[in-house]
């Protein structure tokens, strides 16, 4: 009986010692609204369309890959081919964040790498439908100018390509001629040229 009491008391004191030691440590909690912890670089939230520098806007070409791969079926993309352009542009991009599982598969498959994660963290709403996000909102007002630039760039690229093709053809022709001339020179028997 006495032994039991003693062991009990000892284990109680050992426990108290640990608690006592920890009581004087710095608190591990942070006072949220006043203190903010650093957000991880890999943080995942609702997906967003990332601005691409070379486009000056998002670069969603409505390929529909993300829509198809999404396990939660929460992406809706529609797009059109603007007048005089080869590239398609998205005209509608909606995500139902209430369904998204933040798996990142859509980011993996996007051929233009235009998807990323938002850094928001405190979304709240009264119903499911409050989490329907229209990802094109930040880009809508400049869409026309972006299209114009893209169109110009495309035309320029096409012209450059055409020029390059022409140049290449010319070079090839020149080379051929030179070859032909070369063939003639050493042999000296080019009778049909």
């Amino acid at each position: 009986m006495l032994k039991q009491t003693l062991t009990g008391a000892r284990s109680l004191l050992t426990g108290m010692k640990v608690t006592f030691k920890n009581a004087f440590k710095k608190p591990v909690t942070s006072q949220y609204p006043r203190e903010r912890i650093e957000m991880s670089q890999a943080y995942r939230n609702v997906i967003v369309l990332v601005e691409k520098e070379d486009v000056g806007s998002h670069d969603c070409i409505d390929c529909g890959m993300c829509e198809r791969v999404c396990p939660s079926f929460c992406i809706k993309v529609e797009g059109e081919r603007p007048e005089g352009m080869k590239r398609k542009r998205a005209t509608r991009f909606e995500v139902d964040f209430a369904l998204c599982s933040e798996c990142g598969l859509c980011l993996d498959v996007c051929p233009t790498d235009t998807l990323g994660y938002s850094r928001e963290f405190d979304q709240a709403g009264y119903g499911r439908n409050d989490f329907l996000y229209d990802l094109l909102i930040p880009y809508r007002d400049r869409e026309e100018t972006v299209r114009d630039t893209l169109r110009a760039a495309e035309a320029e690229a096409a012209a450059a390509k055409k020029a390059a093709v022409a140049k290449k053809a010319a070079a090839k022709k020149a080379a051929e001629e030179k070859d032909a001339a070369g063939d003639e020179a050493p042999g000296g028997d080019g009778d049909d040229s």
Binding site: T7, G8, S11, L12, T14, G15, K17, V18, T19, K21, N22, V28, S40, Q41, A42, Y43, R44, V69, C70, P71, S72, S101, E102, C103, G104, L105, D108, Y117
Partner: protein, 377 residues
């Protein structure tokens, strides 16, 4: 089934009665319901009734392609989601015979072991909380938070990771991650000593757990139990050792076993020792992390395992987690069966619980470390 659902107490015996423990009981860790047949405080019969958290993961797998099941995998068991997520990747890699770069393998092992520690910590905290100790719960959560922060820095999620991909992992680890992980290992080695002083050596805790809820090796054979429950009964079986997968054979670690024949205290000591072994593995992995790519060079666009059955098992924090995939050579599996350890472990309750006291039910149920979504899946 009809017999199980019947709730009318046995009217012939006025001394006994039925009691529903759960589905909202705090110590059933989720929505598990146990129908207890009691005589006073003594248990005559126990019937776990499951299915409250059923989310049809297996059925979902039959309706989507292999890649789309990826986010489901970590949600099967949200406490060791990383292990389950990576296990699914490994299962598919095994089926399509895809080799994973060494760096990715080692990163997977580090993350998996960190996840195992965090899962055991949560178990320790909630188990001691069930038995009436509040302090270890808070300490455990503090340490677990450190692990979650480390994993968050590469995966972007805290619980339901979707970090693995077929052929590798999504994000490479940086020096910061490695530094934080090794700092945590150093810190946690000391901290485990504190937990031992606070919990393992505590007399009240020992009295509540020693010789309570013995799950012996006979029962284990009948029910095919696994994980810490199996090792506590003295059987040194660990999938990481017996059928090494994902590069575990390169690491040096011991498989702890219980010394007292498989009571609640044994399950405690085994898990405590397992955390130490996990730290050992992480230490070795940090030391030998090779450079190189984190994704296999040639990952097929469409995942089509050859027709037939494929089985792959890993050691999760709760035991032998196996995936049985029947493929017909197309994009979508015909059948995807998940063999989850908690389901098997909880199925012994009708045998283990009768004869014990009501208060011990809480201890026994806590000590087998169930995760209800993983039972119901």
């Amino acid at each position: 089934m009809a017999e199980t659902m019947e709730l009318v107490p046995d009217a012939t015996d006025p001394k006994t009665y039925y009691l529903n423990m759960g589905p909202q009981h705090p110590s059933t860790h989720g929505v598990l319901r146990i129908r207890l047949h009691l005589e006073g405080e003594r248990i005559l019969g126990a019937d776990p009734i499951i299915g409250y958290g059923h989310r049809a993961h297996e059925k979902m797998a039959e309706n989507r392609d292999y890649l789309q099941f990826l986010p489901n995998s970590s949600r099967v068991d949200y406490l060791s989601g990383m292990i389950y997520n990576l296990a699914y990747c490994q299962a598919i890699e095994h089926a399509i015979e895809l080799d994973v770069p060494e760096r990715a393998e080692v990163i997977r092992i580090i993350c998996g072991e960190l996840n195992r520690i965090s899962s055991h910590l949560l178990w320790l905290g909630t188990f001691v909380l069930d038995l009436g100790g509040f302090t270890p719960f808070l300490y455990g959560f503090d340490d677990r938070e450190k692990i979650l922060d480390i994993l968050d820095s590469i995966t972007g999620s805290r619980l339901t990771y979707c970090y693995g991909r077929f052929g590798g992992v999504t994000m490479d680890v940086d020096d910061e991650f490695l530094r934080r992980t090794s700092d945590f290992c150093d810190y946690f080695k000391r901290r485990l000593g504190e937990f031992d002083e606070l919990v393992t050596d505590n007399v009240i805790y020992q009295q509540r757990t020693k010789d309570v809820g013995v799950i012996s090796s006979d029962l284990i054979q009948d029910y095919a139990l696994s994980g810490p429950v199996l090792r506590a009964a003295g059987v040194a079986h660990d999938v990481r050792k017996t059928e090494p997968y994902g590069g575990y054979d390169r690491f040096d670690f011991d498989v702890p076993v219980g010394q007292r024949g498989g009571d609640c205290f044994d399950r405690h000591t085994v898990r405590m020792e397992e955390m130490r072994q996990s730290l050992r593995i992480i230490d070795q992995a940090l030391a030998c992390l090779p450079d190189g790519p984190i994704m296999a060079a040639k990952v097929p666009k469409r995942i089509r395992p050859p027709a037939g059955d494929h089985y792959f098992a890993v050691e999760s924090a709760r035991g032998h987690f196996g995936m049985f995939i029947t493929s017909d050579g197309t994009d979508i599996p015909v059948r995807h069966k998940l063999r989850t350890p908690s389901f098997v472990n909880v199925s012994t309750m009708p045998v283990v619980l009768p004869g014990t006291m009501l208060a011990d039910t809480v201890a026994i149920l806590g000590s087998i470390d169930i995760v209800v979504p993983e039972i119901d899946r």
